[in-house]
Structures are given as structure tokens and as C-alpha cells.
Symmetry: C2
Subunit: 430 residues, 2 copies
């Protein structure tokens, strides 16, 4: 299909999206596919122009396809490829192109083999419907499902029809569609890296790298907030793989030098996972003692598969009584300073380390709101402590935001103390 | 605007959505507004036909508005109302309608007052831009922000222009837009209830209420999965408030009777919140002892504001050693049965209840995967226990799904044991 994948004008290709399905139109399920796809196509330099969502109505689907066919070079269509009567996309594609349907014998064989491998009874006749395709359509293999992904041209536009199931959509897109569009965008090679940062705002991140960005127009910079993290994505586009690789490496190195310990990981690792990998490498362990975060710190750590190698456990002490009973915080210290105080945070961290025997123990005590604040200690006042082989450090946070944000920022702050204790970050980093 | 809110044809009004913004088009942020809105408009019987997403390009926005104006009776537009140069929606609305902009003195006064209440320096001149509106636009008040929500007619269609910030969008929509559309849908009264269920699949839920649904065509039934919960929404539409209220009450009562303890709450309460309210009313408390869920159970409980009144604390014991040290599980029981076993779950719950002094203690020990399973105890094997005033109960779950789903279903299962202990649900419910 080499002639199909080059836009006629020589300009950067225009891409549109069509999403079909009553459930999406009615808000029963959210369309996450398009954002997923767009985030991968945008760095290629493609012009993403429009997404149209329509329900399972033939005239709406045909109209959306024909409109896209007149404007776009490429259109990614999702949904409506199943075997039931409300799956209209194949029929509408054929009608929009003005061509009949044909039975694709290859796909029918695949469907029958797939069915036989899973069930004893023969495949029902209405499943054969999934082997009907528009006459000029070309199958794009779908290794995960029975819906036939296919590509065809209508008017000036090359369409890719994909199943709406996110797992199938994403795999076909990544394996079969993105490479074709990257080639059409005139790029021989693309290398990407996402640098994941914590402890820095989006505007501070932008500001920190602006000079690097200006020096290196050959790499695209993108920013994305995933509270309380901020991610910097770097996309190097070049004529060949080696140049793209080299250009990316230079810019990544400069960004890492500038951002220092604010970069905790890259390309999808989670904050807790990055810390866990580091602990595992050093054969060290961690425990948590939490109050206002209600176990969120432990939850972040344990959502990492294999965390039992470096996470030993946690104590969640909401009441003053439990802080005494489970963590040996003295009644006197609680009385003198209150539960949200530096001495209590320190005592909690030290008590947790002692009780669990972990290398590191972090403590979080604060006021997450929405109620419970005072003029002395308003909502968002959080004391963190980290007890480790070299002693105990503590930090006061004064956070803003809702209960969920305060809890999340507190848990991240506590883990950041451990990163500092490990020498991976410094409190005075830029 | 009574003449604007009745579609000319007497047919059910057609609604379309337009979403603007480069960040949405590029997949940097997901548009959650439209699904939120659609889920509220669909039960009104409106015909939801199309959503169009475009970036911050004048011609794309104008085209989307004009296309909608020719087809729809109502169009909800979000985004592009801010003060910066890439906020083009107001200008495009005026151009699409073929009318000039005017300065809205009322909104300018509001903007200035809002600014003065927050900052010392005078409002910058470019913020005055937010008081410019198309000549025929009518302000829809936005109590939460500076962006002027407004409504105007273009061709046959009444547009509502709303800020893209979800909090502002949702409030304006619920308070000002939905009532107008409900009236236009020819409905004098609408009453809704969402019955939130746990421990029942979507298809079992559908099956359980199918007879009620057939007996009561005057109430619309909708289903929505929010793993591991399933929600049943009931929308009663009638000529007057009293009838809608009465019709809803009848159907709600029948559904509740059929579903029994599977309904844990209604209209947005969370599962943990419903349990907490019940505990607070009885002046009882709860504690958690968790292993594979890594504190998720405690996290669900403590994300509820005010949970310190009924949640005392939790112990998170990943290692066998901590199960002994912190929960007094005997080394012998651990050796004889393994950490994932009924006796260990029971001992954990009893140990937690004793250590914390709570009325109820739940324990969770299992294999969340993706690794750690054996042929005896595959991934998804989870033992739950609940210790309370009348003794200890235990339950085995054999779950499927990924690590996150197994953890979530386990935490819900443990809280469900407490609901059963409280007499709010029964293990043999339909």
C-alpha cells in the first residue's frame, strides 16, 4: 500500500479520528483509545485535526466517514466491528466508498480455527459475518481478537478500521498503524524518552529546560502533568536511526544534568517502582507509619509487583492511642506537641523502624482535610520523617488542594525523603 | 429564553457536543466532560448524536459550530473561554453567528470584584478580554470561575458555551443547562436514583431487575460498571413532580427488595463511606490487617472525610515475620498452613482486633499476582476474615483479573464481610 501512505500534497499529513458506539455517545463508557493514539501520533509531527464520536446509526457513521474522507489524509476509526446487529462499521465503510462487501476467505479460516481452539460446538453462522469486508479493504491482522482490523481508501483518505476494545486497538495501532503513519510523516526514524519528575511544578520544569529546547530544535519537547508528578517527553526525529538515537541521547543527558534528582525515572516506571528497584539492588527494605494518608504510602509501594522483596509492612495509626500502642510514641510527646508535629513524626518513623526491622521507615502525620484544620495547623500541614541507617530526618509540608491531592503529595514527599537518604536526590536540587 | 429552548419540530431534540483544545486533540488530557454530560442527558430521552473534538484553530472551531448549528437543536461546547491568545471560542462563536463582540459590563464588574477579593494589584488588561461576548449571547453565571459561560442561538441551534475545567463545567451544566434541556425534552419532571451494588455482576443485575423494568415502562433503567461495583440508574419522567417522585419510589422499592443487601448505597456514596456511616451511627470502630492488598482496604476507608471517628488504624504485614511480630500469628500456624490460609486470615483479624481495640477487624491475605501463584494456590486465591463482637468469620475468594483488580475485589470483599456482620447483607443474598 505504499501509494496509499503518502499524502498527495507533500505537506504534513492530516489525521482525523472517528469513534462509533452508542455506549460512548451516551457516556456509558469513555473513549480512552483516541487520547492514547493521539499522544503517540502527535510527536510524529502529524496534524491531528478532529475527532468525531457518533452512535450506532448508519447515516451518522457514513456521514462521519465521508466528511473525514474529504479532509484528512488518514483516519483512524474505532468500534462497530463485532458480530452483532448494532455493529455497522463494515457496512457503512463499504457504502461510503460505494462498493460491495466480499467474503474474506483467509479471515474466515482464521475465525474458524480460533473458534475451534476454544470451543467444542461449531461456530455459529452469524459469526461468519465478521469475515465480510468492503471489496477493496486489506486486512490488518488482529492477533488478539475476532474482529477484522482493515485498511481501505475512501476519496483522498486512507482509513484504518480498528476494534474498540482497548487492548486490541492499542496493539494493532502500535504494531501496524503507527509505523505506516511515521513513514508517511516523512520520518525514517523516531526515538522517544519520557523523563518523569517529582518535586517540581510544570512551569518550573518548562523554565528549567527552555534553553536546552531552544538549542535543540531537532528534538520535540512535551509536558504532561500527572499529579503530583510532571513528565517531560523528548521526541527525536531524524533521517536515520543512529542520528535519532544520538540526538535524543544528547538532549536527554543535558536535561538530566539540569534536573538532577528531580528525575526519578523514565518511560513509564512509577515513582514507587523506581524507589523499590533501588532498594532491591541494595538489598534494603522499607516500612511505613502513616496517619493522615491512611495507607496510601504503603499502597503506592505495594502496587508494584514483586514489592514483597523490599517492602516489609506498615502501621496505620489514626488515633493517638494507636500511635502509642503500635509505634511507642510517648503520651508526653503527643500531649506536648500534638499528633501533627515534628517530634511525633520522628517518633513514628523510629518506632516503625524498630518494630518492623526495616532498613528505612517513613512516617506521615498531617491534616488532609477537609475538616480538622486550625489557625496554627491549617489543612495541608503535614510532617514527614524518615528513619534510616544514618539517623532520622524530618520535613514540614504546607500543601494546598483537596483531600486526595494532599494525601498524594504527602505520600510522594515521604518517599522523596527516602530517595534523599539514599543519595538519589538532594533537598536543595534546582 | 423560552422560545430558544423548544425545538421547532415537536420531535425529541437532537443534542451535539463540541470540545475544543489542543491538549485534548493531542491526547495530553482526556475529555471527561462529555461522557459526564451525556450520562446525564441520555436519561432525559434526548437524542445524543455527535461529539466533535477540535484543536485551537479558528477555522476548525467555526466549522464545527456551523455544522452543529445546521443539525442539532442544542449544542454543548466546552473549552477555549480563558484569557490567553489560544482561547478562541468566543470569537469563533461570534464569527459563526455573523455578529460582532460586545463588552458585557456586568461580567466585567464581576471579574474585577473577583480579582480584588484575591489579589492586591489591579487586574491586568488582558483579563478584560473575558468580558467580551458575542452580541446576542446571554450570560449563564459561573460561580466558580472567571470564564463567562453563555448561551446563544446560531441558525436553528441553541448553544451553551462552558469552560473546560471539569469542576466549573459540571456545576454549570447541572444547575443551568440540564433543567433547560429537560424542559425542552417535553418533560415537566424528572427524578433520578442510582442504586449502587456490590457482589453482583452486570448481567446478573440486569437479569434480577428485568421483570420490574418490563412492568414499569415509565421509568428508564440504565447500567454502569465501576469495578468491582455495578450501578443501576433509575430515571422517572412524568408530567409533574409528584408523579415522577411516586413512580420512582415504587420502582426503587421493588428493586431494593429484589436486590437486598447487594445495594449498599445510592446517589454517589462510596462503598467505604456507606459502611463508615453505619459504624458511626452505632458508635463502633474498625481496623484492618492486610497483606496482599497492601493497605488498599485502609485506604478506601480513610479516603472518606471524617473517617477518624470510626477508623482506628491498620496493620500491613507483608512478611511472615511481621505477621508474628505485629499480629501475634503463631509461627506454627504459618508453617502448617502457609500465609495464604484460613487459619492465618482468622489469626490476623483476631490479632488486629486485640492490638487495636476496634469493634471490628478485617484481614486480607492472598496472592495478587502477577507472580507468586502455585497450582495449589493460584494467583487470585485470597482469604478474608472478619473478627467482631460475635466471633470471627472467614471467606475464600478465587478471583480473576490483573493485580489491581484482584486487590480491589479483595478489599471490597473484606468490607462486605463487615456489612454481613452488621446484618446489612447476607452471604446468601440473591
Amino acid at each position: 500500500v505504499s501509494d496509499q501512505t503518502s499524502p498527495r500534497s507533500g505537506e504534513t499529513p492530516i489525521v482525523e479520528f472517528v469513534v462509533t458506539g452508542d455506549e460512548v455517545m451516551r457516556g456509558t463508557i469513555a473513549d480512552t483509545n483516541t487520547a492514547w493514539c493521539a499522544a503517540r501520533l502527535y510527536p510524529l509531527g502529524l496534524r491531528l485535526r478532529r475527532t468525531v464520536v457518533v452512535g450506532d446509526r448508519g447515516e451518522d457513521i457514513r456521514r462521519a466517514l465521508l466528511e473525514a474522507s474529504a479532509r484528512a489524509d488518514f483516519c483512524i476509526v474505532s468500534g462497530g466491528l463485532g458480530p452483532t446487529s448494532d455493529d455497522l462499521t463494515v457496512e457503512c465503510a463499504a457504502q461510503a466508498a460505494g462498493e460491495p462487501l466480499r467474503l474474506d476467505q483467509g479471515w474466515l479460516d482464521w475465525l474458524r480455527a480460533r473458534w475451534a481452539a476454544r470451543r467444542k460446538e461449531p461456530m455459529p453462522a452469524n459469526n461468519e459475518r465478521q469475515a465480510l469486508l468492503p471489496e477493496t479493504a486489506e486486512i490488518v491482522h488482529n492477533p488478539d481478537g475476532s474482529a477484522p482490523a482493515f485498511t481501505m481508501r475512501i476519496d483522498r483518505c486512507t482509513f484504518f478500521f480498528l476494534p474498540g476494545v482497548p487492548r486490541e486497538y492499542q496493539r494493532i495501532l502500535a504494531e501496524s498503524v503507527v509505523p505506516r503513519l511515521a513513514a508517511a510523516a516523512g520520518q525514517k526514524a523516531l526515538r522517544m524518552r519520557v523523563l518523569q519528575c517529582t518535586d517540581i511544578s510544570e512551569s518550573a520544569l518548562d523554565h528549567a529546560v527552555v534553553a536546552i529546547r531552544e538549542r535543540h530544535p531537532e528534538v520535540r519537547f512535551g509536558f504532561r502533568t500527572k499529579f503530583p508528578e510532571n513528565h517531560l517527553s523528548l521526541a527525536a526525529v531524524a533521517d536515520d536511526e543512529a542520528s535519532a538515537e544520538r540526538n535524543l541521547a544528547v538532549v536527554e543527558e543535558e536535561c538530566r544534568r539540569t534536573l538532577g534528582g528531580r528525575v526519578y525515572g523514565a518511560d513509564g516506571v512509577t515513582f514507587a517502582q523506581a524507589l523499590g528497584l533501588e532498594l532491591a539492588a541494595r538489598r534494603q527494605t522499607i516500612a511505613t507509619a502513616e496517619s493522615c494518608t491512611g495507607g496510601l504510602g504503603a499502597e503506592l509501594l505495594t502496587e508494584v509487583g514483586g514489592s514483597s522483596a523490599w517492602f516489609v509492612g506498615g502501621l496505620l495509626t489514626y488515633s493517638d492511642e494507636l500511635k502509642q500502642r503500635l509505634l511507642d510514641v510517648s503520651a508526653e510527646v503527643l500531649r506536648a506537641h500534638g499528633a501533627v508535629s515534628e517530634p511525633v513524626a520522628r517518633a513514628m518513623a523510629e518506632g516503625a523502624r524498630l518494630r518492623t526491622g526495616a532498613t528505612w521507615a517513613v512516617a506521615i502525620t498531617g491534616i488532609a482535610g477537609p475538616t480538622g484544620g486550625t489557625s496554627d495547623k491549617p489543612v495541608g500541614t503535614v510532617w514527614l520523617a524518615c528513619s534510616g541507617p544514618h539517623g532520622t530526618t524530618a520535613r514540614l509540608l504546607q500543601l494546598r488542594g483537596d483531600r486526595g491531592q494532599i494525601r498524594l503529595a504527602s505520600a510522594f514527599g515521604a518517599l522523596q525523603l527516602v530517595r534523599e537518604g539514599l543519595g538519589l536526590a538532594s533537598p536543595a536540587a534546582p
